[in-house]
Each structure stands twice: as C-alpha cells, then as structure tokens.
C-alpha cells in the first residue's frame, strides 16, 4: 500500500500539485435486524477504494475509484489534477493549509472481543430474545424491531508532507424499538442508536439489549394511554440521551468552522457563531463548559488521527459559557490563522474530508439526579429523541421526545406523551442552571450525522449528563 500511496503523491506533484494526499480505505459492515422475533435482514458489506486529493494552482481537486492498482491510481491522480485546475478557474483566493507536523504512526481501536469473530447465531439469539420480551407483553405491542451493527474501517493515509498513517477503527451499536398500536394511534419507545461506541462486541454485551427492550415495551404500552404533554413554559430536566442530541444539533454543528465561513451555505447552512464572536460571545450560562475530544476511550468519535493526519486532541469550545473555539480542519483553520483542531473526517474512500464533530461533550457539573429533581418545584423531565429540527443558522430548534414525566413539588409524577420543546440556542443554553455530576455522565453516539454534497454520514460521540433548563417552552406536537 505504501508504494501505491507514494506513486499517487509523486504523480500528483510532478503534474503541478503543491500538496497531495491519498486515503486507501476498506470498510466492513455487518448489520442484523429482526422484526417480531423473526430474522428480517442480515447484510454484510465490504467496500474498498481510494481517493486522491490535490491542491493545484491554489484550488482543490479530488477523484476516487473502487478499483485499486498502479494503473488506476495513475489515472485517478491525473483526473484529480485536471479537476483542481478547473476549480482554480473560479477561485477568489488560494487555499492555504494551516501547518501540521508530518506524522508516521498507527492507531487501532482497543477492544476485548472482535465483533466480526462472534458467531452470527449468537447475535441473532440476542435480537430475537429482545423482540420476544417486547411482544410477549400483550397484543397492543404490535411491533418489535431489534438491530445490531458492527463497523470496521481500515485506512491508510499519506500526504506530500511526509505523513504515513495506518488506522483501524471498530465500533458497535444495537437498537431495540417497541411500538404499541391502539386507540387510533401508535407510540414508540426505543433504546436507540445513541448507544453506539468504539470498541468490540463487549459494547453490545454491556448494553443487555433484551432487558432494555423489555423496559421499552413497558413504557410504550404506558404511553399509549398517557395524557398528552400540556403546553407550558416551565423548568425542563433533559436526560442524557436527549441532551446528546441537543449538543449535537445546537452546539456541534454551529461550531464547525466551514459552516461559519459559508462553505456549507447551499446545503447544511451557515452558523450564528460568526468569526467575530469567537472569544467573546456568551453562548450559555456560566455552568456551560463544552469541549471536543477525539481521545476519549469508547467515544464514537474517537480515533488516532483525523483524515488529514492531524493527531486526535482535546479542544475547549465553550468556557464558563463563552464561545472560544471552533472545530476545524487544515483548510478552514488556515483561513482563520489558527491550528487545526484535528476534525477533518471523510465517511469513505470516495468522499473528501470535511470539518466534522469528533466527541463533543458537556462537562459534568456537581448535581445528583435525585437532588436536581427535588430542587425542581414544577417542571418536566424529558428523555430520548423522537424528532429533531433546527434552522440553517442553528438558532431556532424544536425537538420531540419519546417520553416525559411531569415534576411536581420535587418529585417525578405523571407520564405524558408527545412532548416537544422549543427554543433559541443561546437563550436556551443561557438558561442552564444545573448539570448532573460525573456519576451520571455517559458517552453517547450519533452513528449517521449527515453533511456535505455528495452526502456523508459520520459517526460522532457526545458525553453528557442530565441538565436543567429554566423557563423552556414545552408542548404536545400532536395537538397542533
């Protein structure tokens, strides 16, 4: 592989490139799914290829192929150069990469049990048991679906600055969804994909999917006859899994530097966190401290090096409520004159690296969960995402949740259904007055964060603990 990589880079440089890199990637996926205790799908995917990225005349070009070999590498490299030359015809400024030290290194996700070596029968047994524990609870539970996925990515990165890196990333996740149907509607409760993490089959074993499925089934049944969430402005305690989604949408995305500089205007949108706000804008209350960290063990966004060869690192994004840093790659950090935060990530061999989240985390506070509920005279506790929507600058959001409990006089009271809450990002984070402590802090995952054209799905992580937000608007979406 090293010879092939060197050949591409030498060919690019001899054809006029001032910078070149190549990624040779092989991805293996194994996905299993059951419905109502019966196997519905087992799919095994092997996808490999390479992509060459070049800077010519100050502009980018990229080409890629699923065939790998000396002659096709030459052809694809020359095509990337041709594409870059066309890009340069419509440039307004030259791309200036922020400096990065050349790296020779390797990284492998630590794991105890190789998920690809565990027999399929064993995995199917877990999923069928999870389904059975749902549908055995009664006729109203019409649907139970369980699934499990394993992902392995082997990649070689080399660039014209002397870097050569090999990595093997492995992650696993499992879901269980229970759907209760009756009284003219349905309610679903799931143990969802936010539990995916880097590591081996031990990640699945730690989950205990059948038990989680059974709990989901019980709650789905209760939701069917629960009252709709009342409309009110109240104190909201957001559970860890839902808060992971909140961090993802209203913190991670607006802090991507390419968005802030307009590169995603046509698709994902821009950001309210414009560059003049860096270092002084009050993003949240003093209780809000947020950091990106690609080195956290088991984090779904953990790796050794990003897809530009920059080592994984920790970067503080929000300090005592003040927005201080973006997540970035070498291209956009170069525009701002700052170091890359090591967040250039590509979903596969046929996609360019984009500025992506790694693990974006809310630092734990000092509250026990029970203490936080006791401290809340009137409010609501919401958990697990059902729907999510936020505007193109990441300001106005509305998130629906699967389950909610009213809080009355410091105690969790009635279960209510169809709870949605809405807000404006900086005001919302400004109303955060309590975050639970380390004991309640958990690394969640988002396995398919979408971005870019052509589209890319990326696996990212979020560490959160339940937190309280004062005076938040909450309502039942269904009564609209």
């Amino acid at each position: 592989m090293e010879d092939l990589a060197r050949k591409a880079i030498e060919r690019a440089l001899s054809s006029g490139a001032t910078y070149a890199d190549i990624r040779i990637v092989e991805i293996n996926n194994q996905n299993l799914a059951t419905r109502n205790g019966k196997i519905r799908n087992v799919s095994i995917v092997n996808d490999k290829g390479f992509g060459v990225r070049v800077l010519v005349n100050g502009a980018w070009g990229f080409s890629s192929s699923c065939e790998i070999g000396p002659s096709i590498i030459e052809k694809v490299t020359l095509e990337a150069v041709k594409i870059a030359k066309a890009s340069a015809k419509l440039k307004k400024k030259d791309v200036r990469l922020t400096p990065a030290k050349p790296v020779k290194g390797s990284y492998k996700t630590p794991f105890q049990k190789d998920p690809f070596e565990v027999p399929l029968e064993e995995k199917v047994k877990v999923l069928i048991e999870a389904d059975k524990r749902v549908i055995s609870q009664g006729d109203l539970l019409k649907l139970s679906t369980s699934s499990m996925g394993h992902h392995r990515e082997n990649k070689v990165f080399a660039n014209s600055e002397g870097s050569y890196i090999t990595q093997e990333i492995t992650w696993c996740g499992a879901n269980a969804r229970a759907v209760a149907v009756g009284f003219g509607e349905f309610q679903d409760r799931s143990f969802d994909g936010r539990n995916a993490r880097t590591g081996g089959y031990e990640i699945i074993e730690e989950i205990d999917l059948p038990e989680k499925a059974e709990e989901s089934g019980k709650e789905a049944l209760k939701l069917l006859t629960a009252k709709n969430c009342p409309e009110m402005v109240t104190d909201v305690i957001i559970g860890g899994s839902q808060l992971a989604l909140q961090v993802h949408e209203s913190t991670g995305h607006p802090m991507e530097l390419d968005r802030a500089l307009g590169a995603e205007a046509a698709m994902a949108g821009t950001s309210f966190l414009t560059v003049d706000r860096r270092g002084k804008f009050r993003y949240g209350s003093e209780k809000v401290n947020i950091f990106a960290d690609a080195t956290i063990p088991k984090g779904l966004g953990s790796f050794g090096y990003d897809d530009e060869g920059v080592p994984a690192q920790r970067v503080q994004l929000v300090k005592d409520g003040i927005f201080i840093n973006y997540i970035s790659d070498r291209t956009f950090a170069g525009e701002l004159g700052v170091p890359s935060s090591g967040a250039a990530r590509a979903s596969s061999w046929n996609r360019i690296p984009l500025v992506r989240m790694t693990n974006i985390n809310l630092e734990p506070g000092d509250w026990e969960f029970d203490e936080l509920v006791r401290d809340t005279k009137k409010g609501i506790y919401v958990e697990t995402n059902r729907s999510w929507s936020i505007d193109d600058k990441r300001l106005n959001f509305q998130f629906g949740t699967q389950v909610a409990y009213l809080i009355e006089n410091g105690e969790l009271a009635d279960l209510v259904k169809n709870a949605s809450y809405t807000g404006i990002t900086p005001q919302f984070w400004g109303s955060c007055d309590a975050v639970c402590n380390k004991k309640h802090w958990h690394m969640w995952g988002t396995p398919g964060c979408g971005k870019g054209q052509p589209g890319q799905g990326m696996y990212v992580g979020h560490g959160t603990a339940p937190a309280r937000f004062r005076d938040t608007k909450i309502f039942s979406g269904v009564t609209r």
């Binding site: 087992v42 095994i44 092997n46 080409s63 594409i83 698709m267 999510w388 106005n396 629906g400 609209r480």
Partner: protein, 457 residues
Amino acid sequence: MIKGRETCLELAGKVAKEAIKLGATQAEVRLINGTSYLTRFAGSMIHQNVGEANTTLMLRSVLGKRISSVSCSDTNPESIKRLVEKGYKVAKVLDEDPDFISLPEPQPISDLRGLFVKATAECTPDTRAEIVKALMDESHSLSPKVKEVAGALTTTSGELAVVNSLGVNAYARATSADLDATIIAREAEVEGFGTAGDVSRDIKDLNPAKIGREAAERSVGSLGAKMIDVGEYEVVFEPYVVAQALGYLASGFSAQSYQDGTSWMCDLMGQKVFSEQLTLWDDGRDRSGLAFPFDMEGIPKRKLVLIEEGVPKAIVYDSYTAHKDKEKSTGHVGGRGLGGMGSMPSHLIMKRGDSTKEEMIQETKKGILVTNFWYVRTVHAKRVVITGMTRDGTWLIEKGEIKYPVKDLRFTDSLLKTFANLDLIGKEGKRMGAGPYGGVVVPAIKAKSFLFTGQKP
C-alpha cells in the same frame, strides 16, 4: 465507466449461477455501476470539486426461507467467489423467515429510450466550471447586493442490472444533471437568501443563467425580513415545498408501514381525506419526471394512482410485503442498500391545476409565500404532523399582494389537514430529484391554512 448491457448482465448472471451452484435455492444479483462528478461552490468560488467511479455488487442468497444479503465493491473473480461463499455461509446459519415466499418472477419490461445522454456522461470539469460561472455571473449581474453564490452541479452516469434465478434479467442505464443555487444577498449587515434549481437527464437542458437569476431575485427580495405574529395563515407553497411535503406523506404508502399499523393510511383507505383537487400517482415511465423502467428487484414500473380526488386508493409493494397480502409487487423497491429495503413511491406526480403563482397570491387575503422547507421531521406519524423551518425566501401576503419578507418561520402542522385544505393548484409541474433512478413532478399549491409556531430571530 459504463460497462454496458452485455457485460453487466453476464456478470450478474454469473454470480447468480455460482450462488445456485453452491446450494442456494434462489439467488438475486444487483449490479450498480457508474461515475458521479460534483462541482460545489460557495462564496462565489468553486471550493469542492470531486469525482467518483464506483461499483456495487449485491447478492441475496436464499436457502428455502433463509435469506442473506452481502455486497462488495470489487468484481474480480476472487472477490466474487468470496461474496458467493459468504452469502451461502450466512444464509445457512440464519433462522427461517416464515413470511418469505419467493423472489419475484420475471415480468416483461418495455425499454425506455433516451435516459442516457452522452453529453451528461462525458461532461468535463472545465464544462462544469463554465456552467457554474454562467450561473454566478448572472446572479451577480442582477444586483450589487448579491454577495455570495453557493450551490452544486452534479453529473451522474449510472447503470443498473438485476438478475435472479427465476428469470428476472433487467438492465438500464441513465444519466442525470442536477444544478442548484443558494444565494446570499447582503445590505447593511442584513442577509437575504434565495434558491433555485433544476434537474434533467441532459445537461444541455439546464439553464444556469435562469437558475442564477431566479435564486438571486429571491435573495434580494428577502432582504429586510421582519418578525411577524406566529399562528394560522393561508399559504402559497412553491414546488420545492410541495415535493418535501409529499415525501412525508409518501412514507405512509409503504406496504410495510401499512401492515405494521403505523401508516396514516391504516384507518383512512378509501375515505375522503383530502381536497377533491388532490390526485397523486406514481409512474416510473412518465418522461415528465426522471423515468426509469424497473425497480431494484427488476419489476417493471407502471402508473399506480395513490390518491384519487382526495381519496387514498393504494399502497406500494415489494415482493416480500406483496406475498404477505397475496398481492403482486408494484415495482417500488428503491435505494442502494441491502436487505429489507421496503417499498416507497419513487416517481410521484401530482395532478396539476389551472392557477399561476400570481393568481394564487392574488387570491390570498392574509398568508405566507414559502420558497422552501428545511430540516423537516415527523412529530406524529399517524397524523403526519411535521415540523421544520421555512428557508430561502419567505414573504407575507396581504390582500392579494406581497407586502414584505419575513424571517424564517417554524411550522408544526398536520399534512392531512394541509392537503384537505387545498385551495388552488399550479398549472406548471416542476421536476425534482437527484441521481439517475427517481424523482417527482409537482406544482405550486395554495392551502387555506397552515400553522406557524415560531420564528428565527
């Protein structure tokens, strides 16, 4: 690089035969091959410019009622051998699926000519840059307030072969060219956004200057947007909105969701749910859309009326869900993925009315003109309550006239209600879609009410 009919069918057929030889009782092979190029621009310059040559070979191996799905991107003999062995090995250890009856039997497929256009397939990076430049030049020439032109031009050339051991032997190739623009106008630190786009099999059909002008006019026209009181308003939806809204109704047509009891259609089939003006069908052979002759199981496309004069009439099947209802597949398996893909409408067409957009605005007492929806999500699936934001130009209409632009609005409302309240339908259909295998044709509409629940500051 396109391999051609003979090579693709021979390769797919060979894989199916190998699977049967190894012990599979049935086998299905899907070969997707092609190239895709995308020139992306932002800040009025090209900032990303990419190309891809990709092949995916997918095999469904059936052993009685045990089914596996395996795929690879490599078509050399060794990889194919590994793929076939893996498919057999996986199927062998699985439990039986009692609901599986059979892969589909072959049905005659009439050719659809003209789906593959050489000019699109052979479009060079320089030509793409020239098209993008024409769009940018026209946008900036409209007004000095136009500050940033963003968007993408995609050209795709693809071929699909589906072969199964029961005799399905389908092949077609197609191209698509898709150009869209998002334009930012700026005046005294206030921003206005506008969008426009078009898609065709033939890149020569795209008119970059027209797209640039349309998007630029919207961006300049939405400068100085104001806050308004949220609540119920009449609405005029541009086709970009209608396409997204129908996408959310479309998931209810899936036989799987109908059989599960989670579709909005479950209690409403055959009843008058929508305005009589609403007639909606799916037709993969209609050339006003991005026609394609068969689905991912090799079943021919045909016209299927889904809603007739406001009454839901039909759901769409793949072979698996069809067998369960003792029906035949309607040819609606889509996507590139493996396994239980399910069925979804892929070529929706909405019956046109007789109104122009101007007439719809004139007929509006107090309403909102919406160019585009953004980040739409389902809040309640059974009532098709959706939430999302307006984007790329939103205006207040009063007494039949556009009064002023308003800041992007959040909506939370039921699409069952919205399409029941259809008032007027546009007389022109707009073709939209991405990639070679599907798309929609929809007009603008006016509805009597739609609930806006928030606004971007």
